[in-house]
Symmetry: C2
Subunit: 216 residues, 2 copies
């Protein structure tokens, strides 16, 4: 089994490789090489070669990898082949969109249920998942052994929800709220921060227009 | 006016500072210091001091910043005070969630309209925004001078949509699709990649369980 310790940078590139390997343009190809992947994704050849060799030892000089095999190895490496259960807190608009998102199973994510204290949502079902009151959270997490918690509540409630999730045994938090969460050591927070993305987009436009000398 | 050239790392931290400055726990405070921000967010003192001095020259030794002033300066720096128009392509579940997300205006994002070629959505309105057919895209973008395009179509259609956006004058692409987009120089792609986030979460759990020796 290949070494599981890769850099975060490598890990962030792997889903793009997998996506390319599964893309329509490669449907008929038996083999795929690091060079092909690098060219298709506009990345450095050496970087891709190194990344892939961390995932699979089956690459052959001048031939490359058997595409289907490499897909399986990447999926295994990324944990997409091993379904992980998750709970979601906050069944508002964004929460409902995630509950209904059909793409998660292919990445090995299975949202078991949603939690929300809004009485208007009590007993509701969204995309076949139950919306439960918050006091049911610890019991379900402990009983099923859930380790991933998704936060889609407004920013001001995010820390309190995060604390409850951790008390319930959650080890990895996927945070969609605009809040900086404080967690004990050993707990991962993965931020999906729209505020940061918008700042980067806005800054890019600012720079574009200031260099073109056409800022308004 | 302070120097606008800051590192991407700094830019990524600024929204969290802003969020903390506007938080309920600081409601009564007139002044705020880099040390307070650093402590609240679990960051290094020196880093926060340097970040804030890039945004504002009004910090005073031992006193810090006037909180309300620093909020205004951060908002200006991040472009949140200057509303940017955007178009969204792909009015499926995720697209509809973004159209209905009430948090964007506070970050200076204004989604003008959505585009989708699904005839079932033609003429629909989501959260008060019209869903228009794709052939209306170039005209609207050019007429209004829209520079931000949001992609919420399935991965396999993302590159074609991206190309159409760029042809219509879009300079910054906010990509929610699981696809690696190729763009000409000078165009920014900001990826909101759930596949990457899930890989990071899954990898964290794997490491947690392998060090605890309780992997399944």
């Amino acid at each position: 089994m290949p070494d599981r310790c890769v850099s975060k940078q490598t890990l962030q590139r792997l889903p793009a490789y997998l996506n390319f390997l599964k893309s329509a343009q490669l449907k008929g190809s038996k083999y795929v090489s690091a060079t092909m992947v690098a060219e298709a994704l506009g990345l450095n050849d050496v970087v891709v070669r190194k990344d892939l060799s961390a995932v699979s030892k089956k690459g052959r000089p001048k031939v490359g990898y058997v595409r289907i095999e490499l897909i399986r190895e990447l999926e295994g490496f990324l944990g997409y082949d091993n379904s992980q259960d998750a709970v979601l807190v906050g069944a508002g608009r964004l929460g409902q969109a995630l509950l209904g998102y059909s793409g998660f199973p292919q990445y090995g994510l299975n949202i078991l249920a949603a939690f929300d204290d809004d009485p208007a949502l009590a007993g509701a079902e969204v995309a076949g998942k139950k919306v439960l009151p918050m006091d049911k959270l610890p019991g379900l997490c402990r009983r099923v052994g859930v380790h991933i918690g998704i936060i889609t509540v407004p920013g001001e409630h995010a820390q309190a929800v995060c604390d409850q999730l951790i008390k319930s045994g959650i080890l990895a938090v996927w945070n969609f709220a605009n809040a900086h969460l404080q967690v004990p050591e050993g707990i991962l927070v993965q931020n999906e921060n729209m505020a940061v993305s918008l700042a980067l987009l806005s800054n890019h436009l600012k720079e574009r227009f200031s260099t073109k000398g056409s800022a308004g």
